[in-house]
């Protein structure tokens, strides 16, 4: 079976990458193929990488509080690149009240700080569309 491909992305200027790297390791341990963008990525760069690497999942990690800003921009860009069938998951410091707003932008799921690895992995396995 083809491995699930995941892009872990750090949009914008926030340099807190512990969460991104930890989740990347956890998803790799769960048998997925994980690519990490590194820091300081623009929304365009993330969409381009997602396209080139043909990932099934885009995981976005934000701790600065700018998740709504990036959520809206990134989803628009992914639609433009015809990647709207991919799972887009946000993680980091995200208050409950913003989860709905992120989902309205088209983000498929949100796993704020404290989420369990197994829940994230299970969500991906249950919901991923293989694009084939």
């Amino acid at each position: 079976m083809k491995k699930i491909r995941v892009l872990i992305a750090k949009p914008g200027l926030d340099g807190h990458d512990r969460g991104a790297k930890v989740v990347a390791q956890a998803l790799r341990a769960a048998g997925m193929e994980v690519i990490y963008t590194g820091l300081h990525q623009s929304v365009d760069q993330i969409a381009q990488t997602a396209l080139q690497e043909d990932v099934d999942v885009v995981g976005v990690s934000i701790y600065s509080g700018a998740h709504l800003y990036f959520g809206e921009k990134l989803m628009a860009k992914l639609r433009e690149e015809k990647l709207e069938d991919r799972l887009v998951i946000f993680g980091g410091n995200i208050p409950n009240r913003d989860i709905l707003a992120l989902k309205e932008f088209g983000v498929t799921e949100v796993f704020p700080t404290g989420a369990k690895f197994e829940d994230i992995a299970k969500y991906i396995e249950d919901n991923v569309k293989r694009g084939e």
Partner: protein, 542 residues
Amino acid sequence: MSDKPKSDKPAADVPPVVLESGIEVKPIYSYEDVKDIDLESELALPGKYPFTRGIHPLMYRKRPFTMRQYSGFGTAEETNERFKFLISQGQTGLNVAFDLPTQLGLDSDDPMAEGEIGRVGMAVDSLKDMERAFEGIPVDKIGTSLTINSVASVLIAMYAVVAEKQGVPLEEIRGTSQNDILKEYIGRGTWIFPVQPSIRLIADTMEFCANSMPKYYPVSVCGYHIRESGANPIQEIAYAYCIAKAYIDEVKARGVDVNAFVPQISFNFDIHGNFFEQIAKFRAARRLWAKIVKNDYGSTNPKAMMMKMIAGGGGGGLTIEQPENNIVRGAYYALISALSGTQTMALCSYDEAYTIPSKKAALISLRTMQILMEEMGLGDTVDPMAGSYYIEWLTNEMEARIVEQMKKVDSMGGIVKAVSEGTVQREVALQAYEVERKIQSGELPKVGVNKYRTEEEEAREIEFHEHDPKVAEAQIAALNKLRAERDNKAVEDALNVLKEKAATKENLMPYIMDAVRAYATVGEITKVFKDVFGEFEEPVKL
């Protein structure tokens, strides 16, 4: 330490305890564990080499630790207002937070800055913003810490020019800047330029301060963020010391006397995890730094051998779950810090696991420190932990292991190479994963997270620091006004000179100050550096 031990063996079969540093802890310690310590060479009185017991003879009995909460957000005016509030409440030093665009050398009108202006700290585009932030705050009386790294040279230059305008001579300026780029590549991530030119800029500030700003601490080497990224307490100190040595080597190679500039280096360390392990860590770190500066660098100046630190609560120990528990954790971290002989304390506030501190949370942190000092007698006597069998044994153990860890870095080709290639980053990230895995499995107990959870807790909404989008509008409007009103020819000239000098080996500080005086922006100066130095390429291997 003369009473005879009854037995060195555990009283009963008990499960083993291993600290994060890998040290196994016995159930009982006794005279046997410390009898080989040479009091003269290892545990001399406070204020005496190797300073295990503290860098001053009387420590807090003479002067309490500086209380310096991290603050600053939105505009310079708001930051100025918070500063004045904290000073009015008894805070004795300031610690400025800058927004991410400022930390990454982007002006507020840069497309990459959008969404982040004034969000996690104060937005600074030009000297104008710094003038407003420090209005009415005398920079020779209140020491201010600037939490800035890649563009620290620019912000130090601005701070110096603010002093000029306040009529304070350079030699009277008090304060610290973080200015530790090597740790930014490991954790925190506000790097811009490649490794070598970044170290050069730091060395420029160190050399400049050694010559012109003797009361200023241009570099605060941060084990803190390395630990926050996943390092254990041994690695925290070892990597920080390797980094500090890299800066010292650079400045020393320019012919500057170590006795002159090393005293201006300070450290920023983390507190979370095991109580005793942290205290021993600091005592060991102090002793080891003295030995390094004396033996490796041949320094004869005791001030250069004194490890001065800011040590407060580590955000990594706080939890988003049951956030009030963080008030209690913060109080223990403060106690550790006071028992460890810190010079400056800054606590992470209870809401800091998820936001920048509210006014109330920042005040609780300040009160925590004041209670220790003014109600509980933490300043009464110096190094009250000294002579404890366990603490002294653990201090020795930690020191030996930090030395080992530093040797490991040397065998990797040194810290500069390890950081450039991402080796250290990968190591701490893997450890962070292990820690998180153990928390999730329950192996590593975390109260309120994997134990003693409550239903209502999980449903509760947390309060966030509200970000006001108007801040961005106002900041950009002010920037446009500045660009229209300043002498743009003078700016251009200053930037051209800076560009020319950046390509040479000359110290850039005077030229940065000229550009700052002409109201060149942080973004414009950064652009000059990017043109000459290029940009860092992050090693992203997982």
